[in-house]
Symmetry: C2
Subunit: 180 residues, 2 copies
DNA sequence: TTGTTCTGTCACATCACTGTAGCATTTAGG
DNA sequence: CCTAAATGCTACAGTGATGTGACAGAACAA
């Protein structure tokens, strides 16, 4: 692949991820225009709209998987793993800002989503077992919190580096925002 | 308006809200089918797709406004107001499960959204002033948390009544999920 | 029952988006 | 410089969604 083609591929992917995060129905025309590229060029890189979507989802899952592995969820001390996990997810989310619900509705990537979900579940159980998290909370509550709080940090606190955002997320998760 | 027409109107609104929450691009055909009504009937109640969307947003904002007023955000003790606010928002979110980002992108209801946002902002400042919330957190962090944590409770913890969900949300917000 | 209102159905025009084709032009890279 | 690769542009067919019209039939309300 020629260098300019690779550049365009990259730009198309990034632009599409950004636009689709804001508007899941964004058309190929708009994506191409925003990427300063002809509509035809997008179709030369991606057979169809679906293929473009799949490529974005794959990129996102790749980034998440890297975060999982950097965090060493099964080996590192839970507090350390949690922090590294959040930091990695913040980076992945900022790099590939895809709407969560949108991806959850895609059947093509269901297996991978499930596999990653299971690993996160296992980690949360480990955090409960090792007494980092309380054990008396409803099923799924901690997971939902962790996902959404991390997302808020990634989206809203853009002036914070990922590591600082992770500090805040972890502290908020563990101790809350109450004064007492 | 005849009784059956009113029934249909109600059903169309509810069904549309539910479908659009899951898929913002849901077509009028699908909405009509899911509401057991002909496509033409939807167009008799709502001039256009946009008008239907606007009606849903208005219904949602009405419900949120009721929650605001029931909570008495400027008068009641902050802890009480917070609890009542969350409970009301959980109910409103369940009744009108519209995607937040989708509504945020709509210019027609921008003034109302802004007005409600300002009232929530003022309440959060009051919570900080009266020492319920910590004061050393980044701008917007508490607001983002409050919104999203409440949403997670409304969406994921469907087996909990709104009041119990509010218990959990407030406790989590104030003290976190840490064991120590 | 009877008049009015509402709904279902078939039909139609319009529009936006998708995906494909051919060809001239530009650009990378040996 | 020169070839192969990649792009821009125009055009076209197909599809699905939106919005409207007319009319017969069903459901409500007096």
């Amino acid at each position: 692949m020629r260098a300019d083609a690779a550049r365009n591929l990259e730009k198309i992917l990034s632009t599409a991820a950004r636009l689709l995060a804001a508007d899941p129905g964004a058309s190929m025309v708009r994506i191409a225009a925003e990427a300063d590229v002809d509509r035809r060029t997008v179709y030369r890189q991606f057979e169809s709209r679906e293929a473009l979507l799949a490529a974005i989802y794959t990129a996102r899952y790749d980034a998440v998987e890297i975060a999982f592995e950097n965090a060493r969820l099964t080996e590192a001390p839970v507090a350390v793993a949690l922090h590294r996990y959040v930091e990695g997810i913040v980076e992945a989310t900022r790099r590939w800002p895809v709407a969560f619900d949108q991806m959850a509705a895609d059947p093509a990537t269901a297996v991978r989503r499930r596999e990653l979900g299971d690993r996160l579940d296992a980690f949360i159980r480990r955090c409960v077992d090792e007494e980092l998290f309380r054990a008396d909370l409803p099923d799924g509550w901690i997971e939902g919190l962790l996902r959404q709080v991390t997302k808020v940090a990634a989206d809203d606190l853009t002036h914070l580096e990922a590591a600082q955002a992770a500090d805040l997320v972890v502290e908020t998760l563990l101790r809350g925002v109450g004064r007492s």
